[in-house]
């Protein structure tokens, strides 16, 4: 791999990173906070490529004989980002991993509105640790994708990401009552309902699963930020 080829690969790699961070593509893989660093890294990669091409216009005579061949592999992430652009983690991960164990804390009042829009993780910890006290008498609205629960009953899930999608873990909420949910796994839906005292257990890791008493549901387009 000579230096011009390395420069082209670096240019493509930096360009792919920049393109992903200027569109919403990067949100499928990492947290929003990484964006400025991604842009800086992309600019540095492009600058390295341009500097290499610039200095190779008038090459010195100290050509190294061990230019790294492993650098060809950098084409793979370029293909991954520019051509394949794989989707955010979804129902496959939700089926393979156990639901996140939730922990208790102080529960502020639910956000205003009827129904109150609330995250799955927030709902699950209120339902499991606070016995649903902060949910009493309120209708809530959860947004997530459908995944198969124990026995094939559809559950609502969302992937929770700490840093990048490699550490993504699902949070699952069981659905009970209400109209039949007959969309395939992976479909994003918005569910309105009330707290249910029912509890389940995730067969993967034996963690508790909170349930929602469904009043109605409808399919929605996936949100820009699919992770919670």
């Amino acid at each position: 791999m000579n230096r011009q080829a390395q420069a082209v690969v670096l240019l493509l790699f930096g360009g792919a990173i920049l393109k992903a961070s200027f569109t919403d593509l990067y949100l499928r893989y990492v947290k929003e906070g990484l964006r400025p660093f991604l842009i800086a890294a992309g600019v540095a990669l492009v600058a390295t490529a341009i500097a290499t091409l610039w200095y190779e216009r008038r090459p010195d005579h100290d050509h190294s004989h061990h230019e790294p061949r492993v650098g060809w592999l950098l084409i793979l992430p370029v293909l991954g980002l520019l051509l394949v652009a794989p989707p955010a983690l979804g129902s496959f991960t939700a089926g393979q991993s156990g639901t996140l164990p939730v922990s208790g804390s102080d529960y502020a009042a639910l956000p205003a509105g009827d129904p109150a829009p609330i995250g799955l993780l927030d709902y699950a910890s209120r339902a499991l640790f606070d016995e649903g006290r902060s949910l009493t008498g309120r209708r809530v609205q959860l947004t997530g994708f459908v995944t198969a629960g124990p026995g094939g009953a559809p559950m609502l899930a969302r992937i929770v990401v700490g840093c990048c999608a490699a550490d993504g873990r699902p949070i699952k909420v069981g659905l009970t009552g209400g109209p039949l949910i007959d969309v395939p796994a992976g479909t994003w839906i918005q569910v309105t309902g009330t707290h249910s005292a029912k509890r389940g257990e995730d067969p993967v890791n034996q963690a508790d699963i909170a349930y929602l008493e469904v009043a109605q549901w409808q399919p929605v387009t996936p949100p820009k930020q699919q992770y919670e």
Partner: protein, 329 residues
């Protein structure tokens, strides 16, 4: 050797097909078959593999580039004499000094590999550079803050992680002083920067290190993505009840998953069926030995080095993590 060089030069200057031509042909083919390629990842398992592979890389790129830029600065702008003055003269004292210096470098393990390579090139004793390599990703403020956030109920986890990681770095540095051999470390040939202008030397070091360490990072990310989609979590759960097995299971998992040290605390927190000690071992092993690090270290320091260093670090890290867990948690 001289003959080989002449032959190689002739081969390069001859009217053959160079890498730029190969690359151009490849790119043209890709643009033509773009539609077909975008659909080649059909099953959910493969789609997840691609997502995890791309995420590990996207997450690591800023740290890799930051580490490479810093290591190029070390190589080009920091005079050799600086390190002789900055670190204690005696190697046995330089090791703990270098480990503690890791505290000030906020970043994950991908960045510290090229930096440690650059330090060795600039005459820092390998024992101290290796101690820095192990300590920097684990004991810096960002990682310790993330650990505190992930374990809100167990602040002693932060102390245990910092102390155990420092101990491993120092022990490995001292072990290297006693048992290590300089010829195990084979730094890749990097264009000699001493004669060239500073600008040319700086960008040449950047290009070389990104292409080199980045290539090995790609290998490691592919391995980590494979483990992520192939090992179902249910397997792990059966091990959680056994105290010794659970420590070993999470130590091996830390190696296989290759999660960035800034994120591993959140993963450890979510493995709540496991004891705190086994999760501490996960946090101590992960930033020091994992698939992408092994791949990058083999690229930067040579295979002979990594084949000895990575297993030894693994054993020391498991021991230090277990003892810290028993005493502090």
């Amino acid at each position: 050797m001289a003959e080989a060089r002449t032959l190689e030069r002739e081969a390069r200057q001859g009217p053959g097909i160079g890498s730029v031509e190969v690359l151009a042909a490849l790119l043209v083919l890709l643009v033509i078959f773009r539609g077909e390629l975008a659909g080649v990842v059909p099953g959910a398992r493969w789609q997840t593999w691609t997502t995890v592979f791309v995420s590990v890389l996207v997450q690591a790129v800023p740290f890799l580039v930051f580490g490479v830029l810093l290591s190029a600065v070390i190589a080009v702008f920091v005079p050799r004499s600086f390190w002789a003055r900055a670190l204690p003269r005696h190697p046995a004292l330089a090791v703990p000094a270098a480990s503690v210096a890791g505290v000030v470098l906020p970043g994950c393990e991908c960045g510290s590999v090229p930096i440690a390579g650059s330090l060795i090139r600039r005459g820092v004793t390998p024992a101290a550079a290796l101690a820095f390599l192990l300590a920097a990703p684990a004991v810096n403020p960002i990682v310790l803050t993330a650990t505190a956030v992930a374990f809100p109920g167990d602040p002693e986890m932060v102390v245990a992680r910092g102390l155990a990681s420092l101990v491993v770095a120092i022990v490995m540095g001292w072990l290297w002083l006693r048992l290590g051999k300089a010829e195990w470390i084979k730094l890749p040939h990097r264009p000699d920067v001493d004669g060239a202008s500073r600008g040319r030397a700086f960008w040449s070091a950047c290009r070389h290190d990104v292409v080199h360490a980045g290539g090995f990072l790609v290998l490691g990310a592919a391995a980590a993505a494979t483990i992520n989609v192939l090992v179902p979590e249910a397997w792990l759960q059966t091990l959680a009840a056994e105290p010794v097995l659970s420590v070993l299971a999470l130590a091996v998992l830390a190696v296989l998953l290759s999660i960035c040290s800034e994120a591993d605390a959140f993963v450890a927190a979510s493995l709540s069926q496991f004891s705190l000690t086994s999760r501490l071992v996960f946090l101590v092993v992960g930033p020091m030995v994992d698939l992408k690090l092994i791949s990058m270290q083999a690229g930067v320091f040579g295979r002979g080095f990594t084949a000895r260093f990575a297993p030894a670090t693994f054993v020391v890290a498991v021991l230090a993590g277990s003892v810290a867990g028993m005493v502090l948690l």
